[in-house]
């Protein structure tokens, strides 16, 4: 209610109204009609009406509705006590996005094929449709449903959310937020990875409704986020600080490698422990958002199958356990179905960054015997015969092959095919198993939903 001083007592209000002539009274007077009791009558109803309409705050109280199943922005970003929740949420948002990113880019680069799931056809046939709809699900769907191949929305959401949380954390003080610097480091690291994957998977990109950016521009932004994360993590120190700094060094090495700045990439990679470090995107149960979508779609629902290029991966005749698959025989549409053993349940983590990735970056940049040694460390760990060569091209090709196997179904392959100009398989124009022919897309076009709703793209 407004202050009572602004609401006269009803009697007072009635007296005030009776001193005025309403339009109806004027009509009656002009008609020469008796209006004595009518005037009182009208004054009464008018007073009721005016009293009710004047109490806007009463209205507000009466119609107040508790959102119940949603949280207002103010409740989160006006309260420093929510800082830890926000950073944990940033992590969750990225992890969900990474799951569908790995699945969708896996379809685009023929790590997996659709087994009749229509929403996968356009990626599977290298014809992602930026217009959206059925053939452009990568552009318009989220990561919160089984079978989703959404990439742009979940990863853009994760990127924006991480940046917004970093900004909020920077606006708060250490007195308000415990471990604020560490939280800034964590959110910045996830922002860096979201930027990085948007740059790798998309042919061009837009951020915050801004202008269209090239992948190189996005990698530069990712590098900046990783640098911010490393600085904050180093300041924060402790086990978590070390963990975030290492994760970010792997990410920054990857971002710099993507930009062709090999010396700086090498420097970052060499600061990562040579073995033992793994940063996972955690996965879980209880919600599709938390489930490992590679396991769900390939093993549980059978929406997708492992592509022919990964159905029998060997070295010197020995099966490579990094690309372990099972033949389940004929399935949907009469096609043979293969499942994978890398992710064995909905809770299987997806690797974001690791010592192995840093080592393979070193191998790629330095080549020669350093690369051969790194390859053989991996072969030994996986029970494979040693690799031996002194031919730079052969060694480089083996590094590329090691990456293909090591990073199977984790989202690396899409930009490797671009970086190394690996031919499309099947080639453009080849028949597509579900009808039509294959296209020639190597990356995901910037969706129309961004262009049509932004003044800058």
């Amino acid at each position: 209610m407004k202050p009572t001083t602004s609401h006269p007592e009803p009697a007072t209000e009635n007296r005030t109204i009776r001193s005025k002539e309403t339009p109806f009274m004027a009509i009656f007077r002009h008609l020469g009609m008796p209006i004595g009791r009518t005037r009182r009558h009208l004054a009464l109803v008018g007073a009721v009406l005016l009293s009710a309409t004047a109490c806007e705050e009463t209205f507000d109280d009466i119609i107040a509705v508790d959102p119940q199943d949603r949280v207002s922005e103010a409740a989160l970003f006006d309260d420093p006590a929510q800082a830890a929740l926000l950073v944990s949420s940033v992590q969750g948002s990225f992890e969900c996005a990474l799951g569908t990113y790995a699945l969708s880019t896996g379809l685009l680069v023929n790590e997996v094929n659709s087994l009749g799931a229509t929403q996968m056809f356009s990626l599977d046939s290298h014809q992602p449709d930026k217009a959206g709809g059925f053939s452009g699900q990568y552009a318009v769907t989220d990561c919160g449903s089984n079978g989703s191949v959404g990439v742009y929305i979940p990863m853009s959401t994760a990127r924006w959310f991480a940046d917004k949380v970093v900004t909020a954390l920077q606006g708060w003080t250490d007195a308000q937020v415990t471990n604020r610097t560490q939280l800034i480091a964590t959110a910045s690291a996830y922002s860096g990875y979201a930027h990085l994957l948007l740059g790798e998977g998309f042919c061009s990109m837009a951020l915050d409704g801004g202008p269209e950016l090239t992948p190189a521009q996005v990698f530069a932004l990712a590098e900046g986020k990783f640098t911010q994360a490393i600085t904050a993590a180093t300041t924060a120190g402790g086990a978590t600080g070390t963990d975030i700094a290492t994760m970010s060094r792997v990410g920054r090495a990857r971002a710099r490698l993507n930009q062709g700045r090999n010396a700086e990439a090498l420097a970052d990679a060499q600061l990562v422990p040579a073995s033992g470090y793994v940063k996972n995107a955690t996965r879980g149960t209880g919600s599709v958002l938390r489930e490992n979508q590679l396991y769900v779609n390939v093993n549980r629902t059978g929406a997708a199958t492992i592509a022919p290029g990964y159905q029998d991966v060997r070295f010197n005749g020995k099966l490579d356990p990094r690309v372990s698959v099972n033949n389940l025989g004929a399935s949907t549409g009469g096609f043979i179905r293969f499942t994978q053993n890398k992710y064995t349940s909905e809770t299987s983590s997806i690797i974001i960054a690791s010592s192995i990735e840093a080592q393979l970056i070193i191998a790629e940049i330095q080549g020669g015997q350093t690369a051969v040694d790194i390859i053989n460390v991996l072969h030994t760990a996986n029970g494979l015969d040693p690799f031996s060569s002194s031919d730079p091209t052969e060694i480089r090709n083996q590094v590329i092959e090691e990456r293909r196997r090591q990073f199977f179904l984790d989202g690396h392959r899409v930009f490797d095919k671009i970086r190394f100009n690996i031919p499309l398989d099947p080639a453009a124009g080849a028949p597509y198993r579900w009808g039509g022919v294959h296209g020639s897309a190597r990356c995901l076009p910037l969706p129309d939903i961004e262009r049509n709703n932004s003044d800058n793209t």
């Binding site: 009721v48 959401t157 129309d448 049509n452």
Partner: protein, 597 residues
């Protein structure tokens, strides 16, 4: 007719026998569903007349609907199991509950007074409160341990959801009606509403209206003869449409986070300035009774302008809220049209009476202004909001010609370039053509027939039919069958439908998968017989009626690929639902014995 033509090639000769996933005998045992609905309505009405000229009324009502549904996918063994992954063959069960409670409180006070012998006045004031509360809960479990087990508690993985939607409206009104000689009525009113869905920066909205009615046939100058009764009426008023609940609120969704901890993620961008649509409507009409009231005509013309129309605008995902849309008050939408109802009793004798009613209405809607905002895309499949065209209309490239090459491929596809978004441009290669207007989702014409035939004093026959036409319907069924799986006749033999095959190459679900949907449905035919009173008297009754009614009797439609032109997406809010997943309205035969006491 663009029908399904081909089996899926790769599965011919396999256990799928040309079907995509599994043959029909497996589909029949795939799923069992059950749905229960319980509804309770109640109300209290208090009427009070403190004086001869003043009455007041209080109505309090409640309407509660409780829906419970369950779907069980049983554990598959034997022949059926081979069509599923090991996990999918273990089955699942889902239970859903939807509780909807609507509460109404309606108070009004009315004062009647004859000011003179010729002039009467009727003043009303009222308060109204509406609350709608919806609660949705789901429980899902997957993977039974063995055949025959079917409870959620026996599944290996279980999930639950719970959501609420609540909306409240509070309003007050004042209305004054004057009558002159009981022939001319003049009414003025004003209403003020507040709604829980309005944005934080938006407060009350007021809606004034004025109307007049004149019973011309009561005037001395009215000639007796052709029209026994004739009444003219007109109204001008404003009305509102509140936004969806929480449409104004920028919100984050509560979700499970890493390690099972609570977390949030961006949900809706919101719009704190969001207010209601405000419509201004002029309505003119008349009612006439001709030939001693044997033929009744009721005609209404309406023209409604809606300002601050609420339109759902897609959001650039890079701004963080790409998961949803933003509701905005922009532009102006015009709806105009007419409604006509004819009632006649062509036969009225002691033993036979025939009553016929025919009604038809026509509506044109158009976005007059987008308020400076460009076209809004992403409204639905190929649906956009464009100035100068109907709301949520369909747009795509219009193929006008195509050829087949020697290999049987569709080539040289030419399109209508379009003129300002409408058809009628020059013919150009389709790459140079724009997507142009092709139709609207809402029907332009709809109507109904009602017939009642009274035979003697005991038998009553009746029939009800209705029709809709003039709207298009995106059919996900056609899109999936023809443009994704490519198993339609036009895919296999483009010569059978050259333009259709070309359309599928040019458009992402164009005219081929969005046909016009016209239909006429015979909803009900019934016969009711009043049984001899002595039969009812045997059980103490005063009368008894036996009624046999057939419902959903027949559908005549051009929309033959889908199961039912009303199911799924036709004219609905969502135009992208697969009709094959919906349950059509079944033919029903009802027999009712009603005894009065």
């Amino acid at each position: 007719m663009r029908g399904i033509y081909a089996p899926f090639p790769a599965s011919l000769g396999t256990i799928q026998r040309g079907f995509l996933t599994y043959p029909p005998e497996v589909a029949r045992i795939y799923l069992s569903q059950k749905e229960d609905v319980a509804r309770i309505t109640g109300g209290v009405s208090l009427n009070h007349s403190p004086t001869s000229w003043l009455t007041q009324r209080l109505n309090v009502g409640i309407d509660e609907v409780n829906e419970a549904s369950a779907a069980t996918v049983p554990f598959k063994t034997g022949f059926a199991a081979q069509f599923f992954s090991p996990a999918a063959a273990q089955g699942s069960r889902g239970i859903g509950r939807r509780d909807i409670t609507q509460t109404t409180v309606d108070y009004s006070a009315t004062a009647n007074k004859n000011l003179t012998s010729k002039i009467g006045t009727k003043s009303s004031v009222g308060l109204q409160f509406y609350r709608k509360f919806q609660k949705f809960q789901t429980l899902t479990g997957t993977s039974f341990p063995a055949p025959g087990v079917s409870t959620i508690s026996s599944t290996a993985t279980r999930t639950a959801t719970e959501t609420f939607v609540e909306n409240k409206t509070f309003g007050v009104y004042f209305q004054e009606q004057l009558s002159f000689n009981d022939r001319f009525y003049l009414t003025g009113a004003i209403r003020a509403d507040d709604n829980s869905a309005f944005g934080a920066e938006f407060n009350l909205v007021t809606y004034p209206k004025v109307s007049a009615a004149w019973v011309v046939s009561e005037e001395p100058f009215w000639p007796r003869g052709l029209a026994t009764t004739f009444r003219l009426r007109g109204a001008y008023g404003t009305s509102g449409q509140q936004p969806d609940q929480f449409a104004a609120l920028r919100s984050f969704q509560a979700v499970p986070g890493p390690g099972g901890t609570p977390a949030v993620r961006p949900q809706f961008l919101g719009n704190p300035s969001l207010g209601p649509e405000k419509g201004t409507e002029i309505e003119l009409g008349f009612e006439a009774g001709l030939f001693q009231d044997k033929l009744g005509i009721d005609f209404t013309y309406f023209d409604k302008r809606t300002k601050d129309a609420i339109l759902a605008k897609s959001v650039a995902p890079s701004t963080g809220f790409g998961l949803g849309v933003q509701f905005v008050n922009i532009g102006e939408v015009k709806n105009k049209g007419w409604e006509l109802q004819l009632n006649t009793t062509p036969v009225s004798s002691r033993n036979l009476k025939v009553d016929l009613t025919f009604s038809v209405s026509h509506t044109d809607n158009k976005i007059v202004s987008m308020g400076g905002v460009g076209n809004i895309t992403g409204v639905g499949i190929n649906q956009e909001q464009r100035e100068g065209f109907p709301v949520a209309a369909f747009y795509w490239k219009h193929v006008v010609s195509a050829e087949l090459n020697a290999a049987g491929q569709v080539v040289n596809i030419m399109c209508d370039r379009g003129v300002n978004g409408a058809p009628g441009g020059e013919t150009v290669p389709c790459a140079q053509a724009a997507s142009i207007y092709t139709g609207q989702p809402l029907p332009k014409y709809e109507g109904a027939f009602n017939t009642t035939i009274q035979v003697g004093s005991r038998l009553t026959l009746s029939g009800i039919a209705d029709f809709k036409t003039g709207g298009r319907n995106f059919s996900a069924d056609i899109a999936i069958q023809c443009q994704i799986l490519r198993t339609c006749e036009a895919n296999v033999d483009p010569a059978s439908d050259l333009l259709g095959a070309a359309d599928m190459l040019v458009n992402n679900f164009g005219i081929f998968s969005t046909p016009e949907a016209r239909f006429l449905k015979i909803r009900q035919i019934s016969a009711s017989y009043r049984l001899p009173e002595r039969w009812a008297g045997l059980i103490g009754g005063s009368g008894a009626f036996l009624t046999v009614a057939a419902r959903n009797v027949a559908t005549f439609t051009n929309f033959k690929l889908g199961i039912d032109p009303e199911i799924g997406n036709v004219y609905g809010a969502q135009h992208n639902q697969e009709a094959f997943q919906a349950v059509p309205m079944p033919f029903q035969l009802h027999t009712t014995l009603r005894v009065t006491f």
